[in-house]
């Protein structure tokens, strides 16, 4: 029996003797593995992104917005398209709070205004909220504190900054305790939110300023914000199971209050986690699809190996005959040629893995997606390329092993 070290040396020697051919053969596998790795990493990145955005949206969350939902797909029509933009009120929020299985209700009013501090200005989204907003959204305070009920009721000029706004306006100083100007008034920063990253739609969720709802309505919003209307009501259900039921109850309640019928609603209740879950499933399907298409190129790489190994066996018929005459067993020949194929494919797999990781890194940084590459991915890539080498190297190696030494030695 041949020593393993001799077997490896023999395979390496054979591959080195025709470096151009070996490189081109491996290239098929390199491209295959690289594209599988890059695509799966990209897909996993997109999936992780969506999963992260589910978490950042808050769990068990329903969002009620004014305006009817237009068409399918779960995307809200622009406010005002189907119904009034001012159809939701603080009283609606209070009524929703009485619905069974509702844990927290947080009405909010959106505004956009320039903020100035520290000689810098920025144009964040300003959200007028009640203190319960943080709980409804599962947001956390990183520094300082959230304003309380009293400050909210008294329309105090206190604000909590999102991480992006804090970074932009106070790059070198502690934001908490600083003052900033907004819509002609001075506001005190009392807290900074923990960073949440981008949403599933690519918007920066940290580019936000939270102010008391009454403050925003009285001092910041224009004509639109007057009265007791709100631009959004966040509703947190007690559990995920109750979410659908709560959604139906809220819809029924608002129809009674607004005197609308189903189909003519002037509001929309969005179940964001279900939208995000659908998105997550979609990206997962895409990951499998991309991986599957790439796997086809790996298959083509495997066929390339088989092709070259068959040529190699034909070219080296005499060598095989000689080796057999000198005492090589069928298994020795089988192992020698099989190992050449596996070496080609595994070398291709390792190079492909490196290129694939680089490619994934490039693409994810281009699309600002998280880069998800695990040891598991690497192991699968290398294992799969070895499998390709074995599968497609088996037949040529078997042919070599079966050669009749007399015929083989006679061949010129």
């Amino acid at each position: 029996m041949m020593r393993t070290s001799d077997l490896i040396a023999s395979a390496a020697n054979a591959l080195r003797s025709n470096p151009m051919r070996s490189a081109l053969t491996a290239l098929g596998v390199i491209i295959g593995v690289a594209s599988v790795v890059a695509m799966v990493a990209l897909g996993s990145g997109a999936q992780a992104q969506v999963e992260r955005s589910i978490a950042s949206l808050g769990s068990n969350l329903l969002i009620v917005v004014p305006g009817a939902q237009r068409g399918g797909g779960g995307v809200r029509a622009q406010a005002g398209a189907g119904g009034g933009w001012d159809s939701l009120t603080i009283d609606d929020a209070a009524a929703i709070a009485q619905v069974e299985n509702v844990a927290v209700v947080a009405p909010s009013q959106r505004a956009r205004t320039q903020v100035v501090a520290n000689g810098l200005n920025w144009n964040p989204q300003v959200e007028g909220v009640t203190p319960s907003y943080l709980e409804a959204r599962d947001w956390q305070i990183a520094q300082g504190r959230m304003f309380d009920e009293t400050e909210e009721r008294q329309a105090r000029r206190v604000i909590v900054l999102g991480a992006t706004v804090a970074d932009q306006l106070f790059p070198n100083v502690e934001p908490v305790g600083q003052m900033l100007r907004m819509a002609g008034g001075n506001y005190e920063v009392i807290g900074v939110l923990e960073s949440k990253g981008q949403s599933g739609l690519g918007t920066d969720q940290d580019d936000i300023v939270l102010a008391p709802l009454t403050t925003v309505k009285r001092r910041i919003s224009g004509r639109r914000g007057r009265g007791d209307t709100v631009s959004q009501i966040s509703v947190k259900a007690v559990s995920e199971d109750a979410l659908t039921l709560v959604q139906e109850d809220v819809e029924t309640l608002l129809r009674q209050r607004h005197r609308t019928r189903e189909g003519e609603d002037d509001f929309t209740v969005q179940n964001l986690s279900s939208i995000s879950e659908t998105a997550a499933q979609t990206t997962q399907v895409f990951t499998y699809l991309l991986g599957g298409i790439s796997a086809v190129s790996l298959l083509v790489g495997g066929i390339g190996i088989m092709n070259i190994m068959l040529v190699s066996v034909t070219e080296r018929t005499r060598e095989i005959g000689l080796r057999k005459a000198l005492g090589a067993r069928q298994s020795d020949i089988l192992h020698q040629f099989g190992l050449e194929a596996v070496t080609l494919s595994v070398a291709g797999g390792i190079i492909g893995l490196i290129i694939g990781v680089l490619g994934a890194w490039l693409m994810t940084s281009l699309f600002t997606l998280p880069l998800v590459i695990s040891v598991w991915h690497a192991a699968v890539a290398i294992g799969f390329s070895a499998f390709v080498g074995l599968t497609f190297g088996a037949y040529p190696a078997w042919r070599a092993a079966q050669l009749d030494p007399i015929e083989a030695l006679r061949r010129e």
Binding site: S10, L322, R323, L326, G327, Q330, P405, L409
Partner: protein, 237 residues
Amino acid sequence: MAALISAQKLTKHYRMGDETVHALDGVSFDVARGDYCAIVGPSGSGKSTMMNIIGGLDTPTEGRIVIDGNDIGEMSDENLAVFRNRTIGFVFQSFNLLPRMTALENVELPMIYGGVPPAERRERAAALLTRVGLGQRMDHRPTQLSGGQQQRVAIARALAGQPPLILADEPTGALDTNTGIEILALFRELNREGVTIVIVTHDHEVAAATRRTIEMRDGHIVSDKANDRSARHDAHV
């Protein structure tokens, strides 16, 4: 002491289309240990078939051949491979060296399949190359060597597994006359040292350099006689 090769009523049939070719038709002979003999005959005489069977590359249709205690007809492919490795040292007309390997690596090849440890392998290969006069050219590749030198490497390779029998197929066929004589001289030396050698050739002059000539024709042995010393001497001049 039993003969190294003992063949009894060896028959080999080939099917060529509708016809059956009798390559060997009841051949019996013995080769003693330490013998140096030539199997001669024109093409189609059956000498190549004879060589393939002695070398364990082919098996007889009928009859029995025992070489160094191995019954060729009764062995599995696996065992035949081991037999070729341990018992036979092949020397071919066209040398059959692997072009990618150095002379030393070529000589090591049979020992690789024989499971000889690398260090011992290298040492033995180097000693054999020195023995055939190529001590200075161990790291040369076959293309950097002359025909005669290549055949010397091939002979060193045949000796590598310390086989009891060297089987040479037209060993001088690809060489010029003088180089051929040198190779035959090397064989004679090896034989004097106790190696049994069988040369298969169509060349009577080559056969005359051995101790004994077995002449074949149409699958039969037509003559089997010892070569007299003077004829052997003539062949070398």
